[in-house]
Symmetry: none
Subunit: 187 residues, 4 copies
DNA sequence: TGTTAAGCGAGACGGTACGTCGGGTCTTGAG
DNA sequence: CTCAAGACCCGACGTACCGTCTCGCTTAACA
């Protein structure tokens, strides 16, 4: 099974492209990195990239996919603390990756296929974490059973993306204000 | 004192470009409209555009600037109604202009100067309307005096931009949910 | 050696451009043919032209390089006849290619590098033919051994270019007058 | 008659443009001087130029018209001397004006109307001088009565233009060689 | 003295061409 | 079948000129 004819794929090529993407996009910004730049940096041929990703956007998405992904999703403690801690860590990571994420969101606006990828692979997983926090809090009666988890999630992610896209700072203070405001809803 | 040397600019050229931009971008989408398309549609020379706007993005921003700007900012009635009414109208207008606005937000992510324009000329004026609603409600004790107007505004605009950028629907139902959630804060 | 990395150049593209250049320049004249016209006619991309030639002038030079090059350089017979026959054929060919050659000479006046190309690749080879005729005639004592071959060549080519650049006719009659005058020098 | 309504033309504007043309074209070369450069240099409006000349080429032609025009057409002495003296002076003047004249000849190749001007106003007058030398020499039996004045003139001017257009030197030595060769014809 | 009309500098106008750049596809020979 | 290399077609971009036009002002001759 799994007959593999011909020369096997170079296992190093993919990672080389991912790290090239991370490095160059962090340095210069998404738009100012051309595909040729990535190929040169990774020492890789053109087709080798297109064999693995359909576009620059998808490659860069993969390169930054684990951004803010290693956030310790500690569930213990009151929901206010849990959420604030999560957002604080999230925001801290954005100092580095924020610019790339903004560019990815921008690319998604002109390419429906990429928007779908971006939602499914990046945004929804992060939304689910927040929703699960809230759902657990509802379950253990910390939040009212009528609490609108979906809208709350939209408001949290919306507010943070909105500020990020506008180039406004995201810090611990804002994390606190945000969670406080969202959770007050059920007070 | 406002020296007016040389042939005066053609008063019709600017509007012609603006309406060309509005028309073409609405039809085909921002990315699929080239500068040449705009020139042809407006019947105008290349320099005439570059004399007035530094980029396609700035022109299109101007073209869609009054989008959702004619929304009846009626202040009367309870804040919940006022805000819901405002957002419902706003969302209704976005069926037409939404795609263009998404493209403008995207352009702003790769061009700091344009982001500044976009914030000052488009986003902030709209944010001010919402904030003034909330401030008036605070003043007349409809909302608690500790109500965090700024964060509430970020959550409202954030949630709506977030949904729009993700291609999710913006309708009256969401307007209601959103205002309800935000205002519950002071209950 | 002669490393051949990457996709080889399309052997058809160059000839397609050359024949497009020949066809269009002959029809409309050099100035009225844009680079885009050539690309469209040849069914070729922009870079494909710029990869092969640095300018329109160089391409057109190549296209007309063999113009008047297939002239039967028959050496037999008295020098007067040889030269007259050569010039008559040369002039006959210029009905078609004259306009292009005039444009090339014009282009050469504003571009030193192109002038060098034009001299080396077009003018000097043609000058050599005439000089060799005269040198052979000197060698076989048909012309005086003091005969100034270089100046004679300048006068012949000068007279013909001068008339051509001035839009005056070049016919068999002029060929005869010219050779007669030049050769009388040693009578 | 000659009713002159309206503001009279500024007598200084024409000369200002002529001298601007002379100065700039001598410095940078014809092609690298734009019409705007000429206007700026002359401190003159666009329409003021176009009211006087139909094109840059015509203006520059006027600017360099008297080039080599002040050559002392001394008729005395043997034709060889007369002609050599004339050409030597002519060539001496070309060190300065040669580049401009080459550009004018180039412009004439793409513009039939300008070619006519250039012939009539520049080339023919100079050709006439040479022809009159030769005709006088024929009249006084210094040259054979069958001497082909027209062809000789073409060869002289042709040879000198040819060398000039090819960027080859024009000096007293060449003047001598040229006249010697041409006049040998009747020996 | 006031009117008329052309000239003036300035600069905007519609066009056209240019050379560069980037994107995604295709095609070599080598591995 | 993959690899690096690099050619292919396409099309957008911003710049630079060109020759025409239009503004408010100036300069005379005419009324």
């Amino acid at each position: 099974m799994d007959k593999v004819l011909g020369r096997p794929r170079d296992d190093a090529a993919g990672p080389a492209l991912l790290s090239a993407a991370r490095r160059l996009v962090s340095e210069r910004g998404y738009q100012r990195v051309s595909i040729q730049n990535l190929l040169d940096e990774a020492g890789v041929g053109r087709q080798t990239l297109y064999r693995r990703w359909p576009s620059k956007a998808e490659l860069v998405l993969d390169a930054f996919l684990d951004s803010a992904g290693r956030i310790p999703a500690v569930t213990e403690g009151p929901i206010l603390e849990v959420l604030t801690r999560f957002l604080t860590h999230l925001f801290a990571n954005l100092n580095e990756d924020g610019p790339a994420l903004r560019s990815l969101m921008a690319s998604a606006q002109e390419d429906a296929k990429f928007l779908a990828s971006f939602r499914e692979r990046f945004l929804q997983p992060r939304a689910k974490i927040v929703k699960s926090f809230l759902e657990q809090a509802v379950k253990r009666r910390e939040l009212n059973e009528n609490f609108d988890v979906d809208t709350a999630s939209d408001m949290i992610h919306g507010a943070f993306w909105y500020r990020m896209l506008l180039g406004r700072p995201l810090d611990a203070a804002f994390a606190t204000k945000l969670t406080t405001a969202v959770l007050k809803v059920t007070e």
